[in-house]
């Protein structure tokens, strides 16, 4: 079916506000009487707090309040597992943990006051390395993690937060069948999401005791629930106001400083703003988990995978609080199976407590780590088998009716088509243009997110349509997609549909933004609401005897009778496991043999997608995710030394710049079978995960150096080449 608006590359609905500087992010919110909160953070990875003296801080002119744990209720917070205090109480567990908080009218004065707080610590033995954390006798980060609300039951060691397991067939029997078995271990680095808006929030308490919140948080309703718990207030006392979010990438779903801002507001009677410095983001945000992943694969004589076992260790840091999934784990672990049919599979993933920065969700949580390991492993096996890596993959790709690691049955599998399209577009089989140039591929797939969302569609007497939602704008272009859906259904122009942002007062619940869900859940909510409104309009038109496109006249007629033409829909998407989206990527790199420097000469990304609602936004998601993947592959790393982060600025943690991006070819295989509106799927997390292994495989192809730990720095390649010279 041809669409009028769906599939058109329409510019951004929120564009004018954002390009003109008018958009008000939470850090821009100003309310009368506003003051600033600043936190004092622990300088030690693990210590007992012997004494805190705030006398000098309180005496500083301009300081309005100084709070420590003893001034606050002993509440523990979290997104799923509640193990984190508002301020450290008796004990600090990572460098950067908040110990006290100060309020002042001038942010610099508040900051100054934090340096006047005297804290006496007594060192405790710290455990930094995740492998060391799980051995007998290791220092314990939490005395009794099982007692925390939301804690998973299985706990093989006191420092294990969670265990996630995926099983197919009989893995031991599978390995007995195998002609050859391969085992490799990979490591990935600690990495920040890299959003350029540090966490910011404003809390104001109205005269009637209502708590008003503006926050860089993508799940307003969940935030309200979590705040209700953290502040011990009924939910109806809290209102979360939606603001645009300056980049999320998985990182903007927690309470962060909001409870502290509330308590400062409570004791001072003034609205409080707390904005993290970027150094604080890097020492105490909720970055991507570092990992240690071992894959073992058994292959038959004809190159079929018959068994695989995967063991993943994710270094979760001092608290589990930032992980939102019920498993308190990273779903990306399931990608240990790759895009392959593996009859006998066992994946075991452990999130481990250490005295490091607590980690959270980052775009495709767990996947860039696991896909790097898994797809590097695939190439290493292919090389050992003397098979072309493409051919080895071809023999093992998922097909219709196969099972994923999580047990889902797959339909509409286009893994093969996606791979072949990538090979063709990248000229994978063509002769290479010179020495020290290599090509590498990697594949992945990603589910379409689920959740529940509200939409209200209203026809105005001017014939214009308003879509009312409570989904914050994290920058993905979701609002534009929803506007397109409504315009398409109602047959109106894009400019005639506007978005009206609700607050948490306006709906009962909503799962918000995240997990590649909004086009699906929001899109379907908007679609069904618009369909209902359309039916109303048609009925009214028939009654009035006017054409159904005389929208203004129809709305005015209803208004004269005191009625508003409005329809709402609450869409609750259940897990849709049967359809996923495949990605195949090919990197062509050049390696400088004298320095080890890797240059990505060209990059091809191929995506099996559903109906593309907005090609411009769709492509933007692919490009943005891909360059994040490039940074993860080659540049970005938060470095730590004994739990101390030594890269505390964006001058040291290098995000890719405009000069670091490779020439890009994108291939879109459109196949309208998704569960989203107009059979859309999801794209936001499709392009990030395969980039690093594609580059690692290309580097190995170019120079024979196999890098097993990210990022692939020039130095690592250089010394790998030296090692090869020494032992060819």
């Amino acid at each position: 079916m041809a669409h009028r608006i769906i599939g058109k590359p329409i510019g951004r609905v929120d564009g004018t506000e954002k390009v003109s500087g008018a958009a008000r992010y939470s850090g821009d919110v100003s309310v009368p009487g506003l003051i600033w909160g600043k936190a004092l953070r622990s300088p030690l990875p693990h210590a007992r707090i012997a004494r805190i003296d705030v006398t000098r801080a309180k005496a500083l002119p301009g300081v309005l309040a100084v709070l420590t744990a003893k001034d606050l209720p002993g509440i523990l917070v979290g997104r799923r597992m509640f193990d984190m205090p508002l301020l450290a109480r008796e004990r600090v567990r990572f460098i950067g943990e908040k110990v006290a908080v100060v309020a002042a009218a001038d942010p610099d004065v508040a900051e100054e006051a934090t340096t006047l707080i005297d804290v006496e610590y007594e060192d405790l033995p710290a455990v930094i390395d995740p492998e060391a954390a799980t051995v007998a006798g290791a220092p314990v980060v939490h005395d009794d993690p099982g007692a925390y609300e939301g804690a998973p039951a299985e706990r093989p060691h006191a420092n294990v937060q969670s265990v996630l397991r995926f099983k197919l067939g009989d893995v031991q029997a599978g390995f007995r069948e195998a002609a050859r078995t391969f085992e490799h271990t990979f490591r990935t680095q600690l990495a920040h999401q890299g959003y350029l808006e540090p966490h910011a929030g404003v809390v104001a308490i109205d005269e009637d005791g209502r708590v008003q919140v503006w926050a860089s948080n993508k799940m307003p309703f969940r935030l309200k629930e979590l705040l209700s718990h953290a502040l011990q207030l009924p939910q109806e006392k809290i209102r979360v106001n939606l603001t645009p979010i300056g980049g999320d990438f998985g990182g903007k779903g927690s309470l962060m400083d909001l409870p502290l801002a509330y308590h400062l507001a409570r004791v001072t009677g003034r609205p409080v703003k707390m904005v993290m410095r970027y150094a604080e983001e890097l020492m105490a945000g909720n970055p991507r988990h570092p990992s240690v992943i071992t894959l073992r694969t058994g292959v038959s004589r004809d190159g079929q995978i018959v068994a695989r076992s995967v063991r993943a260790l994710f270094n979760s840091g001092a608290y589990a609080a930032f992980k939102p999934a019920p498993s308190v784990s990273l779903g990306g672990a399931s990608m240990g199976a790759g895009v392959y049919r593996i009859p006998n599979l066992l994946i075991e993933s452990f999130c481990v407590y250490t005295n490091n920065i607590p980690c959270g969700h980052a775009r495709s949580p767990g996947e860039p780590q696991m896909v790097f390991a898994e797809e590097s492993h695939m190439d290493m096996i292919a090389r050992e088998l003397a098979l072309d890596p493409a051919e080895f993959r071809r023999r093992n790709l998922l097909r219709d009716g196969d099972h994923l690691a999580n047990g889902h049955h797959l339909e509409h599998v286009r893994a093969g088509d996606t791979l072949e399209a990538a090979l063709k577009a990248s000229e994978y089989s063509e002769p290479k243009p010179g020495p020290w140039i290599g090509r590498g591929m990697a594949m992945t797939h990603r589910h379409i997110g689920v959740g529940f969302t509200n939409a209200v569609v209203r026809l105005g007497t001017d014939g214009r349509v308003t879509l009312r939602i409570a989904l914050p704008d994290t920058g993905t272009g979701a609002h534009l997609v929803l506007r397109q859906v409504v315009a398409e259904v109602l047959g109106v122009a894009m400019d005639d549909v506007e978005i009206e942002l609700a607050t948490t007062d306006d709906f009962a619940t909503d799962s918000g933004v995240g997990g590649s869900r909004v086009t699906h859940t929001g899109g379907r909510a908007a679609y069904h609401a618009a369909e209902k409104l359309k039916a109303q309009i048609e009925a009214e038109a028939a009654k009035l005897g006017v054409p159904a496109d005389s929208l203004a006249a129809i709305a005015r007629a209803a208004a004269r009778e005191g009625r508003t033409l409005e329809a709402s829909h609450f869409y609750d998407a259940k897990a849709h496991g049967a359809v996923t989206s495949f990605t195949a990527q090919v990197a062509e790199v050049a390696v400088d043999p004298q320095t080890g420097q890797v240059t990505v000469r060209r990059f091809t990304t191929t995506h099996d997608v559903g109906t593309v609602i907005n090609p411009l936004g769709h492509q933007g998601q692919i490009e943005g995710g891909l360059i994040q993947g490039l940074g993860f592959a080659l540049m970005e790393e938060i470095k730590t030394e004994e739990g101390r982060i030594s890269t505390l600025s964006l001058g040291d943690v290098k995000l890719p710049t405009i000069q670091d991006i490779p020439p890009l070819t994108t291939v879109i295989l459109e196949d309208p079978v998704g569960p989203g509106p107009f059979n859309a799927k999801a794209i936001g997390e499709g392009s990030i995960s395969a980039v690093a292994p594609a580059i690692a495989n290309a580097v190995a192809d170019a120079c024979g150096a196999r890098i097993l730990d990210l990022p692939i720095t020039a130095e690592k390649v250089y010394f790998a080449l030296k090692e090869k010279e020494r032992r060819p």
Binding site: D108, A279, G596, M635, P656, I658, Q659, D660, A714, E715
Partner: protein
């Protein structure tokens, strides 16, 4: 940031007087890119800030005895885009162009960057290779010293209390000479160098032997350094892979890098050897072009 007094005198004498009056508590600010960043991090909290921005004439870039004199308040962008610099010493314009971003180059001044004495900066490397001198002024008068002697330790220069950098004088390259700056950036394009090398090479009239060379390196220790040992190996020698290898080895022995996010000390040492070879090759090629032009 902590509170401080701020003065923006209009003359150098006035600035020097304020500096003397406030002694240790006072700091000089020009572009402020480094100082304000550290003040925001609260690593540095001066009680008195003396801005040089309103002093006239300190930002001039002018011809000087066949070379170029650059006023301390000239910004990096001024140097990069100066027609005089581009014509007479393109390597210097090219070096300044490699600093951070256009925006930072608009702010950062030549004098401020020298006084900051960060061994990871680009300009000092080329300035040393070109044989430039820093002009310093204090209440007791003026003095000048070679750039290579100006840097004393990590972020420490030869500036005495109460002194300010007022300019830098860069001599013209000798005839039949070439210069090159090589900045090794294995991570992102806006990074500090992992290793940086500047070299000048003069060729004999026959165009086969190296008459003289100067080599300087950045990001290889607590100060930018001049690699005199390697320079000595080159004088009078025939240019070729052998000679470059020798120079590279000599440089590797001369550097003392710090391990940091841009590479381990061992890697930087290796790269110093590689980059010296590259810089010399480019300088050599440029020298040959120059020699042909003079013949």
């Amino acid at each position: 940031m902590r509170a401080f007094e701020y003065a923006a005198p209009r003359t150098l004498d006035e600035a020097l007087a304020v500096l003397r009056e406030h002694g240790d508590e006072a700091r000089v600010i020009a572009g402020g890119t480094a100082l304000v960043t550290m003040m925001r991090q609260r690593l540095v909290s001066p009680g008195y800030l003396v801005s040089l921005r309103d002093i006239r004439g300190l930002d001039r870039i002018e011809a000087d005895n066949g070379g170029i004199r650059i006023g301390a308040l000239a910004t990096h962008r001024d140097v990069e885009t100066s027609p005089l610099v581009r014509e007479r010493l393109p390597v210097l314009a090219e070096t300044f162009r490699r600093v951070a971003s256009v925006r930072i180059r608009n702010m950062a001044t030549v004098g401020g960057a020298l006084a900051h004495a960060d061994p990871n900066q680009d300009p000092p490397v080329t300035l040393i290779a070109l044989g430039a001198r820093v002009e310093i002024c204090g209440t007791d008068g003026r003095r000048a010293l070679p750039v290579e002697e100006f840097f004393r330790d990590y972020y420490e220069s030869a500036l005495e209390p109460g002194e300010v950098v007022i300019g830098v004088v860069v001599p013209q390259l000798a005839p039949a000479s070439g210069a090159a700056y090589v900045k090794f950036l294995p991570r992102t394009a806006d990074d500090y160098a992992t290793v940086a090398v500047a070299a000048t090479v003069s060729v004999d009239p026959d165009g086969e032997r190296c008459r003289a060379a100067r080599i300087a390196l950045g990001s290889v220790g607590v100060t930018p350094i001049r690699a005199r040992g390697a320079e000595g190996l080159l004088a009078g020698q025939r240019f070729g892979a052998e000679l470059l290898r020798g120079a590279g080895e000599a440089v590797k022995g001369a550097v003392d890098p710090l391990s940091d996010h841009r590479g381990s000390a061992a890697y930087k040492r290796e790269m110093a050897g590689v980059m010296v070879g590259r810089a010399l090759t480019r300088a050599w090629d440029a020298a040959l072009v120059s020699a042909r032009g003079t013949r």
